[in-house]
């Protein structure tokens, strides 16, 4: 990798002089500004393009809390290499075009050493190639669409399961419990939100699973739905008409709430109803649907190794600080900062461009066990810098207003009600 240092720019400038005065006029401001902004990094700034307003704002707030808690803890212990971490959030409203502007600002004006988060897959899909172009390490902690780490970008890292991995725990449960109990082909219905996230789970997770196991499962109604509809009852009536044994939803929060309420209204039931993370793993879905999702399962990134003492301590700290139990988003965000902090230990340079490259190499070398599980960025099966996180998924179930991890058995907090 070639670095552009102030001296090399000076050298280039000498050649440019002979060419054109106009070019000089354009370059001079950069020469003046570059050494000042680039070397004045007394802190490590971490840029987070997050939805702080708009429909995704509730999620942006979760990640803000998670990052803040982790950064406060690290800074209280003196930071990394004597430098404090500083979070710089820029609001994307979860809209890719705004996220692109946000990231350009974070990298070129705020001089962040790394980018983190983004929440929505659609946003991350726009940010990843830009981060690559700007040679700024981008650590994904929640955007899960598989394609994002399948484009060969060496600056893009992901610590959590991809969408295709979300349903791993549910699939395991379907085969080992649901099918084993019934011993005859099982009728399934699948509804997924029509956006990058929903299509990712459908394309890389649920549909390949049903295709592979078509001898045991028959997928009937299988449809994408629009996220902002007022009325899902026509769709739910159609599902009811097919009387499936298993219903799977891939939903965000608001659509998940309405689907839960309206499924109850039209009297849609099945032996097993499961979401695939996202909306169905959020506490809000239970409360705001008036408990309509009682008994629903949700398969997605797990909430960490809930049996470990380190996890239990963290959960206690989180509740003390924020007053509610953490879920998948909170642990992902918290651990992402820890991973960045570990990788930042190998950053010695004062120049931000060099820092970014040192961090990229540091991330590539990072191997650590976190409260979320093991983290190591590998290239495999078409993925680049992806944590092999198949095992970091769990099946939860809403029982009495709380989402309990019920599968796989080794991390189950209680037995599934099935």
């Amino acid at each position: 990798m070639d670095y552009i240092s102030p001296t090399s720019i000076d050298a280039r400038l000498a050649e440019e002089v002979a060419l054109s005065r106009n070019v000089i006029a354009l370059i001079i401001p950069f020469i003046i500004l570059f050494p000042v902004t680039a070397s004045a990094q007394e802190t490590f700034r971490i840029g987070a393009p997050l939805p702080m307003t708009g429909a995704g704002a509730a999620f942006g707030e979760k990640f803000k809390k998670a990052y803040t808690m982790a950064i406060d803890e690290i800074n209280a212990k003196g930071g990394v290499n004597g430098r404090k971490l500083q979070l710089v959030i820029d609001d994307t409203q979860a809209q890719p075009p705004l996220a692109v502007t946000s990231v350009k600002k974070l990298v070129t004006s705020d001089n962040v050493v790394a980018l983190i988060g983004g929440w929505a897959s659609g946003v991350a899909l726009a940010v990843a190639p830009l981060a690559q172009e700007l040679r700024t390490p981008y650590l994904l902690d929640h955007p899960a669409l598989d394609d994002i780490t399948r484009q060969g970008n060496d600056c893009v890292f992901r610590l959590q399961p991809t969408t295709g991995m979300y349903s791993a725990a549910l699939e395991d449960f379907l085969i080992n419990v649901v099918y084993e109990r019934q011993k005859k082909p099982i009728k399934a219905a699948y509804l997924y939100v029509d956006n990058a996230f929903g299509q990712g789970v459908a394309k890389y997770g649920i549909m390949p699973f049903f295709k592979e196991h078509s001898d045991r499962f028959v997928l009937g109604v299988c449809e994408a739905y629009s996220e902002k509809a007022l009325d899902y009852k026509p769709l739910l009536l159609k599902v009811k008409n097919a009387s499936p044994d298993v219903i799977i939803f891939t939903s965000y929060l608001t659509d998940g709430i309405l689907l839960g309420k309206q499924a109850k209204e039209v009297g849609l039931t099945a032996k097993l109803v499961s979401g695939t993370g996202a909306g169905h793993s959020m506490q809000d879905i239970y409360e705001k649907s008036g408990g309509a999702v009682e008994g629903y399962f949700s398969s997605g990134p797990w909430h960490g190794d809930v049996t470990s003492p380190a996890w239990k301590k963290w959960r206690g700290d989180w509740e003390a600080k924020y007053g509610y139990p953490p879920g998948e988003h909170e642990i992902e965000g918290y651990v992402a900062i820890q991973v960045l902090a570990r990788a930042l230990e190998s950053v010695k340079s004062r120049d931000v461009v060099r820092q970014r490259e040192e961090l990229r190499v540091g991330l590539k070398r990072t191997t650590m066990v976190t409260i979320f599980g093991p983290v190591k960025f590998e290239n495999f099966d078409g993925y680049t810098n992806q944590n092999r996180a198949y095992n970091l998924t769990a099946l939860g179930q809403w029982i009495g207003g709380k989402l309990y991890q019920v599968w796989p058995k080794r991390v189950a907090e209680r037995d599934p009600k099935y």
Binding site: M52, T53, G54, A55, A57, A58, G60, E61, L191, D194, E223, A224, Y225, S226, K228, A229, L230, D231, Y232, K233, P234, L235, L237, K238, N241, L253, T254, I257, L258, K261, Q262, K264, E265, V266, G267, D284, K288, S289, G290, G291, A292
Partner: protein, 289 residues
């Protein structure tokens, strides 16, 4: 069985679409103002229902009438901003100004209520009733019934009362109405107020069946425009019919086509009506102004 359930369901949803749209219709009909902040006023209606329910336990179906005077006031105030614009330039200028008001309302709600989603869960929200083999939740049923009653009352108000006739006269011809002794400005202001009250009431009926967050208005505005265009720009009956058509078309489309394609139905209907009957299904002939 499935078909009848879909149609019944679509009709009930359609009544709510109608109520969302009727305020927009009357404001456009009388004042040629395209009120882009209509959806955000619905949002305010939902928030006020939510607050009164959370803090004082008042059912949205009651509180929506208690807050109606405040919405009338809000409407009158917004009208004061729009009134000085000459009638010729009103359609475009009002569109931009009300779009600005829309942003102000949504971002103010964001500051006050934060971005969290809020829902109103009534004690009977899980109870359902069976109508001709179709299960309907109590809130959906009550919301639809109230919507129908409100629209019928508003229709009667326009046809049977003195003020109602003055509103219609103003809509038909401002100059003649003025010559006949109608105080056009006051009537316009009252109409805007009434339109905003209807939007607030729509928020009240939506609160128990939908969710509210500061930007939820954008979910309604396109549908409301589609209903207005379908039914005719100035007709309350048209808004009811437009709402019902949209509700049923969406229900059938959502079940028999891909659900994600159902918004296409809205726009195809929208364009079809504009093309073949630009004044809407129930609109009068194009008038010279």
């Amino acid at each position: 069985m499935l078909l009848s359930s879909l149609v019944i369901n679509g009709l009930f949803t359609g009544l709510i679409y109608g109520l969302i749209a009727v305020g927009l219709t009357v404001i456009f009909g009388v004042m040629r103002i395209i009120n882009m902040s209509h959806g955000d006023i619905v949002m305010l209606g939902m928030y006020s229902a939510w607050i009164l329910f959370e803090k004082f336990g008042v059912s949205p179906y009651v509180s929506m009438f208690l807050t109606a005077p405040l919405f009338f006031l809000l409407g009158s105030l917004i009208y004061e901003i729009l009134d000085p614009i000459p009638l010729k330039r009103r359609e475009m200028s009002s569109l931009i100004i009300t779009l600005g008001i829309s942003f102000v309302l949504a971002t103010s709600a964001m500051l006050i209520f934060t971005a969290d989603y809020r829902t109103v869960t009534l004690p009977y929200s899980q109870r359902v009733i069976d109508i001709l083999g179709t299960r309907l939740g109590y809130p959906a049923l009550i919301s639809s019934a109230i919507s129908l009653v409100l629209m019928c009352l508003f229709r009667l108000f326009l046809s049977r009362t003195h003020i109602g006739r003055a509103i219609r006269a103003t809509a038909i011809d401002r100059t003649s109405a003025a010559l006949l002794g109608v105080n056009v400005k006051r009537i316009s202001q009252a109409t805007f107020g009434a339109g905003v009250v209807l939007a607030g009431l729509a928020g009240g009926v939506l609160a128990p069946i939908y969710y509210v967050y500061p930007f939820v208005g954008s979910n309604f505005i396109i549908k409301a425009f589609a209903v207005v265009v379908l039914g005719g720009m100035e007709s309350v009956t048209g808004a009811i019919a437009g709402g019902l058509i949209l509700g049923v078309a969406e229900a059938l489309g959502g079940a028999f086509l891909e659900h994600s394609l159902k918004d296409i139905i809205v726009f195809v209907l929208f364009l079809g009506v504009l093309f073949f009957r630009p004044t809407g299904l129930f609109g009068g002939r194009e008038r010279n102004r």
